[in-house]
Symmetry: C2
Subunit: 217 residues, 2 copies
DNA sequence: TAGATTGTTAATCGATTAACAATC
DNA sequence: TAGATTGTTAATCGATTAACAATC
């Protein structure tokens, strides 16, 4: 509302660096560092000072000439840019291994998200508790969404079930997705906010790196 | 050994697209498609034909003028480039929520990996079974690595325990890491092959996208 | 042979880095 | 004021796209 100036188009490359800055500044804050220059950040993070200043200036001038940046202020600004102060509501769909792990392991609250419900299709799972929530039936999902208006859905369900569930969720007003399936959401729903985690692609990338390292020996 | 020609330096941008090509060609193969042109791939994947041809030609000429690419051959070539045929051995360290989910949910075998052991520090977990393996004590990890020579370690342990474990693993000859912690492995061990999955950064990126979508309404 | 599509070179675009005037 | 460091413009670098000759 206030403070955040500029911002017309910001490239994905810049956006993906913001969480890292946010984390890094949190670490500094924990160490009691109050002030830092772009040069110091660059050295510690393995980037260039230019890049950091360019990145930050996509959103506004958060520093002060001759001084640098106030760690606490800068971190708060980046948090605001990321929307971590918005208290977005999330639901999770698919309480299998991955769904359980994500709901237990990921610190939603600390990233400003409120995980308000978990859904599964399997009657054996419905009613059991995961991450402090009682698993609900996917049959209730439309009603739930119309009532509680979640901002995002975490998709940890099998690929075959994804298309159908997506149609239901979008129809019920959900527009953000943390996607752990290989389903190409933006192809069907180009106006949604989608962030995908392709674990198996990541593993294949590691395979390439390991293999490449071997061959160059 | 044979077929794979060229390859001096290949940019990370290209490498990250290979798993997606591999998956896509697998889907085509499942549909019985035997032949495809770069133009068709581009349309279906939302890329340009030029980019696909450029990417593939980092590794060699897998197509045929006037014909296009043989789906099965191209997929096999990309699989070989990724090292999926190498049968790399993997161990997993940290059998908490995330470790259990990864070992159960991720199809290691189908990506050419052999998950041969799971380790944890917690005596209550040691001896129990996960993903068909009996959890071993981290005290055995050096001996195990010296004997079985795993190529990669999946790191799903708490941040505080990571540095110490990394020193042990590297000393025991492990040089590849699938990293789910926020620990900066390459800073300490620049010669390792590291692929990191920063789930919380991904969630913050989603937060940005959702927030941005709201503000532009 | 004619048509199609690759492999590859050249042109464009975007992102990163360098430089420096503004200013705290 | 002098020193430091930002915000911003200009230069460089790399990646993507376009074009086309080679060839199946």
């Amino acid at each position: 509302m206030e403070s955040i100036a500029k911002r017309e188009y910001v490239s994905p490359a810049v956006i993906r660096r913001l969480p890292r800055y946010y984390r890094f500044l949190g670490t500094l804050l924990g160490r009691g560092v109050t002030r830092i220059s772009s040069r110091e950040i660059a050295e510690m993070m393995g980037l260039t000072a230019s890049q950091i200043r360019q990145d930050l200036n996509c959103f506004g001038g958060f520093g002060q000439q001759g001084y640098g940046y106030n760690v606490e202020v800068l971190r708060a600004e980046i948090g605001r840019i990321l929307g971590l102060d918005k208290g977005f509501r999330a639901i999770l769909v698919g309480a299998g291994n991955m769904g359980k792990a994500i709901s237990n392991y990921v610190d939603f609250a600390n990233k400003g998200f409120n995980l308000i419900a978990i859904f599964d299709k399997d009657p054996a799972k419905i009613g059991t508790r995961v991450a402090g929530l009682t698993i609900k039936s996917t049959e209730e999902i439309t009603d739930f969404c119309l009532t509680h208006k979640p901002d995002v859905a975490v998709l940890t369900l099998p690929l075959q079930a994804t298309k159908g569930m997506l149609d239901i969720l979008v129809a019920a007003g959900v527009t953000g997705f943390w996607n752990f399936t290989h389903y190409d959401i933006l192809y069907d729903y180009p106006h949604c906010a989608v962030e995908s985690v392709f674990l198996e692609d990541s593993l294949m990338t590691l395979s390439y790196l390991v293999n490449d390292r071997r061959e160059s020996e």
